[in-house]
């Protein structure tokens, strides 16, 4: 909406999700949908986040737990393969890390300013669960 003039809005507390008429939206991938400028998909809320998840692809088993549990649909998965995280909409809640079942985890939380390459390079080793106890 930031590109609209002060008087360019429709009456009612109402916004259009898409530009123009849509068809088979459930069968269209997010990146291919004609989202309108006022749709929240086109707005970044990345600055709400103080911690971010980092994804280590090598350990991921594509179980889709993170995809199912993410409350903001910010896990990007295609053909049941985990691709990455939508960092424009992830709020950094950490639920994806919590539900990740691999050892070591394929997702870990870091401070927002942390360097992703560095963290991936020193990713934790597999832990012996018996030793932990």
């Amino acid at each position: 909406m930031q590109n609209n003039g002060w008087n360019e809005f429709e009456i009612g507390a109402m916004l259009r999700s898409f530009d123009g008429k849509i068809d088979d939206i459930a069968g269209t991938l997010q990146e291919d949908r004609p989202y309108s400028a006022s749709n929240s998909f086109t707005a970044s809320v990345a600055d709400w986040r103080i911690e971010k998840p980092v994804f280590a692809k090598d350990y991921c088993i594509d179980c889709q737990f993170c995809w199912i549990y993410c409350p903001d649909m910010s896990i990007i998965s295609r053909d049941k393969k985990m691709i990455g995280i939508d960092m424009d909409h992830c709020k950094g809640c950490g639920i994806c890390v919590e539900v990740c079942p691999t050892n070591p985890k394929s997702l870990l939380m870091f401070a927002e300013h942390a360097d992703e390459e560095e963290e991936l390079a020193r990713w934790p080793e597999k832990t012996d669960e018996k030793e932990e106890k």
Binding site: I11, A13, S17
Partner: protein, 407 residues
């Protein structure tokens, strides 16, 4: 359509509640979400019965509170239905939060308000406290004086509220018990004629249009909220009166019954006038007639449209009157009554203006008798003779004990 029409006599004996329920049936309301409360219960009960008996095609949603009732109406209206409900008093008070949602979302819901006092002390009888509570909520508010009005104004309410240039919700007020439970002759329309007046509901930005999805009830902060509210108020102030006028004209052509923003009775040559709402208008008309026989040039001005407030029409109607009394049927809560304030405001900049004095009356269903009005007209006539208001600006009518007055 799969529902039955109802054969009505030309004149039916209906109370205000049944008149409103019949109007909802004839408008073919899609959804009524309701939490019944005295004295408005028979309106939604009536709709539910018509629905159960296949006289209407729609949905009756029994909810857990009046807050939920209006919330349900908001959802159904946003989805694209013709929607109505009814309430009174405490239920209305609980509904207030959602009243502002309905008007801000520009949803043309019709709410029948059967006016009743607000607790404490608890009271089921008629006064205008609930009506006054919603007067800043952004709804159009129409006032019925009798069951005939309650019937007719429902059709006018839908017609105006649903107009795409307006898209604002509308209340139809009637006095608890005095109108709602008092049976009178009501001139009816056939189902076909009645429905033709309101016509088919024309959707706008409805949520059930899956090819054009919309989000209703969005958030705006300091960057947009003010523009939304300013436009909403602008539309309420400028677009409603012409549409109401057109609807009143159309309705008169259809039925011969004429409604106006302000209802004038013997006002054009009046020296003294009473300004009031609801059933009191009819009592005041009778007394004014009797005062005329005694040589006092008395008139009555009834407010038909409470919001938007008919400033211009009032200014014009009162320009030759010498002394007016405003009758507010609501506890003023630390100020003059609403009518006293609004009418003073609309007259203040006029070079020639009537003297004005305010009266609080009828709280909790206390009767306004003809004798009260005789005394009132007599006071106004004395003000005219003296050239000044001789009484306090705020007096109480009909309360026991020493005479109560302020200001």
């Amino acid at each position: 359509m799969a529902f039955d029409t109802m054969e009505l006599r030309d004149v039916e004996v209906w109370d205000g509640n049944h008149a409103a329920a019949q109007a909802l049936r004839q408008c073919q309301i899609d959804v009524v979400a309701a939490y019944p409360i005295t004295p408005s219960t028979p309106i939604v009960e009536g709709y539910a019965k018509f629905l159960a008996d296949n006289y209407v095609e729609g949905e009756f949603v029994m909810v857990e509170s009046e807050h939920a009732a209006m919330s349900g109406c908001i959802g159904a209206a946003a989805a694209g239905g013709r929607v109505a409900t009814a309430t009174s008093s405490q239920g209305y008070a609980l509904m207030v939060e959602t009243l502002y949602q309905a008007s801000g979302m520009r949803l043309p819901i019709v709410l029948n308000v059967v006016n009743r006092a607000l607790a404490a002390p608890l009271n089921v009888n008629g006064d205008h406290s609930d009506m006054y509570l919603g007067r800043d909520s952004g709804w159009i508010q129409l006032d019925a004086y009798c069951p005939q009005d309650a019937y007719d104004l429902n059709f006018i309410a839908f017609k105006v509220a649903e107009d795409h240039d307006v898209r604002l919700p509308c209340m139809v007020h009637q006095d608890g018990f005095m109108t709602s439970h008092t049976a009178q002759g009501v001139v009816t329309m056939t189902d076909e004629v009645a429905y033709s007046f309101v016509g088919d509901f024309k959707v706008m930005n409805d949520m059930l249009d899956f090819e054009h999805p919309v989000t209703h009830g969005v958030q705006t902060e300091e960057d947009w909220h003010f523009e939304h509210k300013a436009r909403q108020h602008h539309d309420l102030m400028t677009k409603v009166f012409p549409k109401l006028e057109a609807a009143f004209d159309d309705f008169e052509k259809l039925t011969g019954r004429r409604y106006n923003m302000v209802e004038k009775y013997d006002l054009d040559d009046a020296d003294v006038a009473v300004i009031c709402m609801g059933t009191s208008v009819e009592t005041a008309r009778e007394v004014a007639q009797e005062m005329r026989a005694k040589g006092i040039k008395a008139g009555v001005l009834g407010i038909r449209v409470i919001r938007p407030f008919p400033f211009m029409q009032l200014k014009e109607a009162l320009k030759n009157v010498k002394a007016v009394a405003t009758l507010d049927r609501s506890a003023p809560g630390g100020a003059p009554g609403m009518l006293f304030n609004e009418i003073s405001g609309c007259l203040y900049n006029e070079k020639v203006r009537p003297m004005i004095s305010g009266y609080i009356y009828g709280l909790g269903g206390r009767d306004l008798t003809k004798q009260h009005l005789v005394d009132l007209y007599t006071e106004l006539e004395a003000n005219v003779g003296a050239g000044q208001v001789l009484t306090p600006l705020q007096q109480y009518i009909g309360v026991r004990g020493p005479k109560l007055s302020f200001l």
